[in-house]
């Protein structure tokens, strides 16, 4: 196959890939606000997924919160300084998770700083509460299973009525969702084995298919069980062969279930002494990401501040354990608590989220051990360790940098950025088209390809578009056009020396290449330096500039040449 054909095939493949990468962004950007609301109402998870797959907008464009925290090391003694930052991060992550922020960023910076970015979230007061407060670690008991199912069944009928009233009839989506859940339920059949080991037993497990809650026994149609059909029984004590109210819910269903549980008419069904709590993190069960929903008794049985010497370890079977000791005051109390509740789960609750609900295997006096479930990784165990430590030894933080950008300012910026990009682009397209005639139009086509590919790459990389990022795109336009100007000026020179049109085009492209290449590389060097050392918005600028310039080498040079090469013989050239 000729070189020309290969190039056309390559370009076609790139176009298909770019369309694929850009699809979600296109869908999101063309969606009206009312459509978005409607989708959010129907299925909150879907909108979030769409936002995650589309080009992300920076704080400056969609509004949001950016906070830099400093862990006050000077208030901690030497021993507890060690992983103070990790502890604080873990706590913040627990709290931020579930806010409905599409792409929260929580990361360590330097030795004692933490960056928290909540794009799209503009409730500053709530966010500061979430970030600045000291972690509260509590131990609570779970409600018994029979009561939990009774409550959930009642809630089901209320929610069913509510949905019926809201949508008129049972809508299609609900049916589909239910079918999916059922399928998933079947695949859970072979459960995980649990290690029953030392003092406390670790993460619970789904055991056998007949454990699924709520089936036949309630005798209701799936559509009439909006919540329970989305839950799977997942907390089962092998030793005692008893069920406990810990249910697995698919990650995507969490927001929906939350919404239902928070309805006033549902809240009134939940007895005053219990509450529904989610697990702190999603976990993987049978290849699905699920959150656990527990029905926890509100009464605080024990406080995390009495824990000491929390350390990660391994038991004789190689499984991960978290060891802890109890301080003087706490020991007697904990012994009493564990002695009185043998074989029951004890929920470890941090900031009203359940880290885990291990079963109590024996009375614990001075030293205890939490055995992680058989499938737990070292990361899970480490998370548990950090959460316990954070509850026992909170890391005090202060805010040293804060940016809260209101959604209106963001929208204002994006309008201006978008508008000025469009105007700038049109002016350039017009200028090049008028100045270089038909050849200029070819350059314009290359330029449009450049911008399209750039947006697609940004979507594929999950890059964040910021205002400086838009500036980066605009500068890319300049660089891309420069390549074509170089080539066209060269072609004109070659034409003046009396060469044929074909020879002039080829010579123009060949001779201009060196200058184009060098100028692209030098811009890439700048972009690279900015990327390495820049932060936040500057990084966004560097990323768009880097990709814009890289892509421009292909679109302004190869694609435009391809277009010229479509015709073999030229008698005249419009340039």
């Amino acid at each position: 196959m000729s070189k020309q054909n290969w190039r056309i095939i390559l370009t076609s493949i790139l176009v298909v890939l770019a369309c694929f990468a850009f699809w979600h962004t296109f869908k999101l950007w063309t969606m009206s606000d009312t459509d978005k609301e409607a989708l959010n109402e129907r299925d909150p998870g879907a909108l979030l997924t769409l936002q995650q797959k589309a080009i992300r907008l920076g704080l400056d464009l969609q509004g949001g919160i950016h906070v830099v925290l400093r862990v006050k090391m000077e208030e901690l003694d030497k021993a507890s300084r060690e992983d103070a930052v990790e502890r604080a991060i873990q706590i913040i992550r627990n709290r931020v998770d579930g806010l409905g922020v599409a792409e929260p960023v929580i990361q360590k910076q330097g030795n004692d700083r933490i960056i928290v970015d909540l794009p799209g979230y503009t409730d500053a007061e709530r966010a500061e509460e979430l970030i600045g407060q000291t972690a509260l670690l509590e131990f609570k008991l779970l409600e018994v299973y029979d009561n939990a199912t009774l409550i959930l069944t009642k809630i089901d009928s209320v929610v069913h009525e509510y949905e019926k009233a809201r949508t008129g009839t049972t809508d299609e989506d609900t049916v589909v969702a239910v079918e999916e859940t059922e399928e998933a339920a079947d695949s859970v059949a072979e459960g995980e084995e649990i290690d029953i080991l030392t003092e406390l037993m670790g993460d619970s497990a789904i055991d056998t298919a007949d454990m699924f809650a709520f089936d036949e026994e309630v005798g209701l149609d799936e559509n009439e069980r909006p919540i329970t059909s989305r839950l799977q029984m997942a907390l089962y004590n092998n030793r005692k062969a008893t069920n406990w109210p810990g249910f697995a819910a698919a990650k995507k269903d969490r927001e929906l279930i939350d919404k239902w549980l928070n309805l006033p008419e549902v809240q009134s069904l939940i007895p005053i002494d219990v509450q529904f709590c989610w697990s702190t993190r999603p976990e993987i069960r049978n290849n699905r990401e699920v959150y656990m929903l527990y029905l926890v008794k509100r009464k605080v049985q024990f406080l995390g501040k009495y824990l000491e010497n929390i350390a990660l370890g391994q038991d004789s079977y190689g499984g991960y354990v978290v060891n802890f000791a109890l301080s003087g005051d706490g020991a007697a109390h904990f012994a009493q608590l564990t002695g009185a509740n043998l074989d029951k789960p004890l929920a470890i609750v941090i900031d009203n989220k359940v880290e885990s609900a291990p079963f109590i295997n024996s009375k614990i006096r001075r030293r205890g051990q939490i055995t992680m479930g058989g499938s737990a990784s070292v990361k899970d165990a480490r998370n548990m360790e950090i959460v316990l430590k954070a509850g026992a030894l909170p890391a005090p933080v202060e805010i040293i940098e804060k940016n809260v950008v209101g959604a209106t300012l963001g929208i204002d910026s994006i309008k201006k950025g978008f508008f000025s990009s469009l105007v700038g682009l049109s002016l350039v397209l017009l200028f090049i088209g008028v100045y270089y005639r038909l050849s200029g139009v070819i350059a314009d086509v290359g330029l449009l390809f450049n911008i399209f590919f750039l947006l697609a790459v940004m979507a594929a990389l999950g890059a964040t578009l910021t205002m400086p990022g838009i500036a980066g795109i605009i500068l890319t336009i300049g660089i891309s056009v420069d390549s074509n100007i170089l080539i066209f000026e060269r072609i004109r020179e070659e034409l003046r020396t009396g060469k044929t049109v074909r020879a002039s085009i080829d010579a123009g492209y060949t001779r201009a290449f060196v200058a184009i290449f060098d100028s692209h590389v030098t811009t890439l060097i700048t972009a690279g330096a900015l990327f390495l050392l820049g932060s936040g918005p500057i990084k966004g600028f560097a990323v768009t500039l880097f990709w814009g310039v890289t892509i421009s080498l292909y679109t302004a040079y190869i694609i435009t040449k391809q277009i010229f090469d479509i015709r073999k013989g030229y008698r005249t050239l419009s340039i």
Binding site: I400, K416, M467, G478, D482, G534, L545
Partner: protein, 308 residues
Amino acid sequence: MFRIIGQTNINFIGARKYAFVLSGALVIIGIIGFIMIVTGKANLGIDFAGGVMVTGHFDRTVTIEDLRSAVAAEFPNAEITNLKDFEKPNAFIIKTKRPETEAEGEQRLATLIKIIESSFAGNTFTLVSEHIIGPAVGETLRGDAQKAILLSLFGIVVYIWIRFDFRSGIAATIATFHDVLAVLGIFYLLGLEFDLLIITALLTLAGYSLTDTVVVFDRIRENLKKFRTKGEFANAVNSSINEVLSRTFNTSLTVLLVVGTLFFFGGEVLRYFSLALIFGVLVGTYSSIFVASPIVVEWEARRPKRFK
């Protein structure tokens, strides 16, 4: 064929003495500005200096003077800008720089907001955005920005050295430094604020100016293969500049079209960023003609390079 600049034969190299004087002056102002930035005496944005900033709008008309006198007691150095192109009228940005300690930032912000909200009875202030930047954060950012500039300039010298020769690398770097310093100097003279975005703009214009220089050098390299006799070096350089003049002009014009649009329609955030780029394009175009190539000519005159 539509042409703005045709074939020219301007003696650019002959005018290099005047150019060196002008450039020297620009560079000196730039160096002064740079020293002021490093020592923190120049007009630094809150992202470098640290400080608090509030953006918001009032229901009813308020003038900058009203607002200034309202906050003057607590914040005598507050800078207030009227956001004219914001979608709501009576929108302002109020900035105060440099709280003494990091913890103070939070408090200062709260005080500032409280004063603004309570000073105009019956006129509600709606907060649109709030920013706090601790001075330590500003220092880190400033350090990073300086490192980024040095790193990219170093990378560029090495690249040009590899692609051309050592003296071209040096000449290109001088021209690039010249452009960055010139724009920095102009900004300093005009008393405009230096923030992270301006640094980004400076680095971008470094890239642009370099592109211009590289294009001219590339043409010189090509032409030197034709004119190998000694003594014609200056001529070869001069005709190279003339040959690519049309490209230089068109490219600069395109970039100006784009950054000009940004300047007029890009909003407050990008205004000074685009202004820096406008200066940058102008200075960069000038330097690729009057700075980089003449340096190579001077160098050649003193220590002629042997042609293989």
